[in-house]
């Protein structure tokens, strides 16, 4: 066996061990092993973690965001996150990253991202009369439609849209 082959073998043994630890660490391996392989995986861009793919359980909430903007002259405007149920498959394909974004920022402990969304809306949502007036306040609201379990009630297939009332999750004001 040539030196070249030995190097390849050494790489394969090491790499496959790391992949196993990374992909299955939640199911038996100890955390110290995962911690040990984390840095090389991050540096090389080769991390993967466990493959969840709608596991362990499927999300059961359809969520919508709404922002009510109040401008300095008391004019108001409303912005809403995309209504996914109304969009065509092609449009959803185009907005695939947006779907990921809204799902990600609605996770717990993502208030920082809500502030960034509000700051972005303050810059990008136009004044209703087209005036150059700054936004004074944004109220960010969330509503969800929780899919009932089938043993409780079987609802028709398709987007479940029995939304709860809007709930204010953030009141944002621009920094002075």
């Amino acid at each position: 066996m040539g030196t070249h082959r030995r190097w390849i073998n050494a790489f394969l043994v090491g790499f496959l061990a790391i992949v196993a630890i990374d992909a299955f660490h939640g199911t038996g391996c100890t955390q110290p092993l995962k911690d040990a392989v984390n840095l090389p995986l991050l540096v090389t861009g080769l991390w993967q973690g466990p493959w969840r793919l709608y596991a362990p359980d499927v999300d059961k909430d359809n969520l919508q965001l709404k922002a009510e903007l109040v401008f300095a002259d008391q004019a108001t405007a409303t912005w809403s996150s995309p209504d996914w149920a109304e969009l065509s498959a092609l449009r959803k394909f185009r907005l695939a990253r947006h779907i990921n974004y809204y799902n990600a920022i609605l996770l717990a402990d993502r208030e920082l991202a809500w502030d960034d969304l509000c700051a972005y809306l303050a810059r990008s949502v136009p004044h209703p009369q087209g005036k150059a007036v700054a936004v004074a306040q944004i109220t960010l609201s969330l509503r969800g439609a929780r899919i009932p379990p089938p043993d409780e009630k079987i609802v028709p297939a398709g987007p479940y849209r029995a939304f709860d009332p809007w709930e204010v999750i953030r009141v944002w004001r621009p920094r002075a």
């Binding site: 992949v19 596991a55 990921n100 960034d116 297939a157």
Partner: protein, 326 residues
Amino acid sequence: METARVTARRKRPARSVLPGRSGPARSTSRRGPADAWNDFFFAARDPRLAGLLRIGYGLLVLVNLAVLAPDVPLWFSEAGLLPAADARELMTEHAPTVLGWVDAAWWPWLCYAVVVAAAALLTVGWHSRVQAIVVLVGLTSLQDRNYAIVDGEDTLFRLFAFYLALCPAGWAYSLDARRRKRRGIAGEPPVPWGLRLFQIQMSVIYLSSAIEKSLGHDWPAGTALYYVARLDDAFGKLPLPGALFETLWLTRLGSWSVLALEWTLPVLLWIPRTRRVAIAVAIGFHLAIEATMNLFLFHWLMILGVLSFAEIDELRWPPWRRPAAS
């Protein structure tokens, strides 16, 4: 040895030969683990498959980047939805990202353009290995800059770039091959051991997903697809009869079938007798999900990964057409 000879030998594989292995079958009775390892990774195999995977992968990266194009400032600039400092605070772990090197509005565009160029050059096979590495670094940088828009397919995009860099991806169907031919460089076909990493990765994905699903409640209970069919963002591509997801036993059957497939495919794809059927079933499985759900390019990447279990002569269309004589 010419590629044609490797191909010709592959047409009549011995039954005892592992998938993808060519050459006379050896007795397995006295082989140790080292021999088995060497046979598994380093047995001769037609390297043209790596070229096909390279082209498929390159096209998918280009589609991915094309969809991203209108939103480059939105996702990756300070004027966008997530400033760099906050993006880093939202993540606990970070890969190195070149997007943080220069604080200018044109920098994300330049980085994006470099990845697009590398993906295009990878697709046509110009210095394929180098382009695969540039694509890996570029995609890792984009993903680390805004992890909020990333999901499983982005992980696959990164990993496949790495595996392509380890394959003789430019050996066939490429400008690299044309250049080699023009210069009269002859040589034995390289051993595409990197293709094994594609195969192992696919098995890891199925197995990991099967384990994760089995640890939850919805999949073992058979109610998972009931919920999936009511999600407003991911579900609802082609019209389907509502009864499929409103009749509980059908929903259970569907959910358990997914679970059964994810448990069995990592085994069946490796067994010579079941390999072809498993490839067909896996492709059908991913096409079915692709037809019903909006999961961007994930299932096309999975199909590409499944094809790493095939032999180049099996990848003809229509499938019943005889392979061309070598």
